[in-house]
Symmetry: C2
Subunit: 402 residues, 2 copies
């Protein structure tokens, strides 16, 4: 008798690459960079309303908010996005008060079409103003109950493809429609996605760094179970929130051995969180990787003036430094301080400019990284079975209430 | 020869209690509930400006923002707080654009008096409008360089006591002065603090739960190295950020054995993060404790109306539910789903109402809990030596730039 085996080989980059390549047949987000945007852009031009209210939650809003939050301060859009996601009654009333209701377009976004928060808020909004085909559109799967509602009321719809999951849907109609309406260049967004897609699948510049990073994160998942993104720009707050959903919901799973996996995402901002979370990174347990994100060129910069404050002469050395330089010096000093410790894995991503193309590269890159890490971990990156039990309990509570 | 020892006894609650009691001699935040607020209230009445710009970062702003964020939507204050903390040039310009500069009071807050972000932003603001004793006050230690600046320019100052650390300073002048100015009842805040203080130090209702929780967190610090606060109200976003600083910066330390400690704080919001982080809690690695925070009474509630959406009849069962009930049903369903798993430590804190007294109880309670956990961990809860190296590197970079 002869027996020969290699039961636990170290998986190769090439094997992972093949799996990712195969995944494209069933996972729709990989195709989004190549979609035709004509219809969306044509529709966007017809929108007259000034306030755009997005009624959605989770994957229906986080990506759109990330892009809007990054760009809105350095662009003067003549329309404004408003996000309705929480069922907190005080928050909800405050957000409604910010709308000029007669001059608002309502965009109802729910992939499944029956998201309880979204439909509750939408019902309430219907009692605050008349909502019909003239001031409402719907973005959902094409056979959902929300789609039926739209059809029965002659309301325009855009489709969320069935094979595009909520947290991977920002570059589908979910994100592109509201972003195009306020004037964001959605073709530049997709150009950024394509750049990353091609570079990875043609095994060019991004291939090796992505594989190396994903492998490290997966292989050290027990030692470094927390992945911190430390973004040195206030404009990346929305991106951080989007990253937390993408990473946490995709990678927090039972694996094929029924073991609880889970890489915990944390998003923090520099320099503000130098005065908060940084102490924990530096002296805390060595359970974290840190990815720094920097913005190279903020454009339209301002400078710390040569303005004397009597008594505070000690700080005169900061004069004549552009703020964009200061924040990047702060990032570099923190990176150096972390590297000096020698036992905290860290890397740095630099965004060239505050524009559509560069943010989309970052975001599509993170989607791809998430997929690759998921393959290394032998999990289903694209479902979220863990939240179903809570939904059932809630439904029973609501149906059986007195 | 005889040798008898008990080298590693399990520390008793009583021993911890004694240490906390002793700590009060050198740690100032314990005394803040009992301060006289007359001077602050008198000054607050004299402020005429409508926009209140707080220039500060970290402990100088997070607590104030937490309280303001919690209360502002259900109160109609006739003044508005604006926070200047980031050196991001685009963010900074946007925040300045929101001010009516001639109708703004500038409050410069820095405990040390030489915080680089704060002084940089303050210098810049000085070139945007005339700043002097008529539209500026300073909150700092009484021998700081910022205090010298104020004295030389006849600018009013409030003191941050030396023995009150930044992240424990919200109930000192740091928080009370700006909050009193916009009309928040600071005596109710202190009443909430006193309630917790007395209950703990007189070993009444809060004593046992706090000790039990702190002991659990400390004794299971390796298994459960992440402490999630899951707040079911959009109004608690600022509280979550404040908690992250308090917990992370206080408890991320080298202990007396020179070992890296570190309990990682995470703040999330319900129901929004049911669609994001919850999957990771449910199916991810069992490395997290979860504390749910609920608001019992939102007041001025609104209800999901009895409004039919043709095609969406499936969801008619949500009609006539007040939103405050819905969000609490959502919390309860999530709590139940987490409890059903049987291996995730969780607890629930319920706030009675959206007011000063109740939020202060929560916040002072968290400060006390942080102190107790710090004692269990044998660390210095009140310093932050880990961030010093980065500051030195930055200073050298700035001084030696070409």
């Amino acid at each position: 008798m002869n027996y020969n085996a290699n039961l636990n080989p170290r998986i190769t980059d090439e094997q992972i690459f093949e799996k990712i390549t195969e995944e494209q047949e069933s996972i729709g987000y990989y195709n989004l960079p190549f979609q035709n945007t004509t219809q969306i852009k044509e529709y966007a031009k017809t929108v007259k309303q000034k306030d755009i209210a997005i009624i959605g939650i989770g994957g229906s809003t986080l990506g759109t908010f990330a892009i809007y939050d990054f760009l809105r301060r350095s662009n003067s859009y003549d329309k404004e996005l408003h996000f309705f996601e929480s069922t907190d009654p005080i928050d909800l009333k405050t957000r409604i008060d910010c709308l000029e209701l007669e001059n608002t377009l309502f965009i109802v976004i729910s992939k499944s079409g029956t998201t309880i928060e979204t439909i509750s808020i939408f019902k309430y909004l219907n009692t605050q103003t008349k909502i019909d085909k003239n001031n409402c559109i719907v973005i959902t799967e094409n056979d959902s109950k929300l789609n039926s509602y739209a059809k029965k009321n002659d309301i325009k719809t855009f489709e969320v493809p069935k094979d595009v999951g909520g947290r991977f849907s920002v570059f589908s109609a979910v994100g592109l429609v509201p972003l195009a309406i306020i004037g964001i260049d959605i073709d530049s967004l997709l150009k950024g996605c394509k750049k990353v897609y091609n570079s990875f699948f043609q095994k060019k510049e991004f291939y090796k760094p992505m594989m190396t990073k994903a492998r490290f994160i997966a292989e050290y998942k027990h030692k470094f179970n927390i992945n911190v993104v430390f973004s040195y720009s206030a404009l990346l707050k929305g991106f951080n929130q989007w990253y937390v959903q993408l990473w946490g919901e995709s990678l927090g799973k039972l694996d094929n051995d029924n073991t609880n996996q889970g890489l915990t995402p944390i998003g923090i901002l520099g320099p503000v969180d130098q005065h908060s979370f940084l102490q924990l990174i530096i002296e805390g347990k060595r359970d974290k990787t840190v990815t720094f994100i920097k913005v190279n060129d903020f454009e339209n910069d301002i400078e710390i003036p040569n303005y004397k404050l009597e008594g505070l002469e000690e700080l005169d050395y900061i004069e004549n430094i552009p703020f964009s330089k200061l924040i990047n010096y702060q990032a570099d000093a923190t990176i150096r301080a972390v590297q000096d410790l020698g036992d905290i894995p860290c890397d740095t991503i630099t965004i060239d400019k505050v524009d559509e193309y560069n943010l989309a590269r970052l975001m599509f890159g993170y989607e791809l990284l998430t997929s690759i890490v998921g393959q290394f971990l032998h999990i289903n990156t694209y479902n979220q079975p863990g939240v179903e039990n809570g939904k059932i309990i809630l439904k029973n509570k609501l149906k059986n209430r007195k």
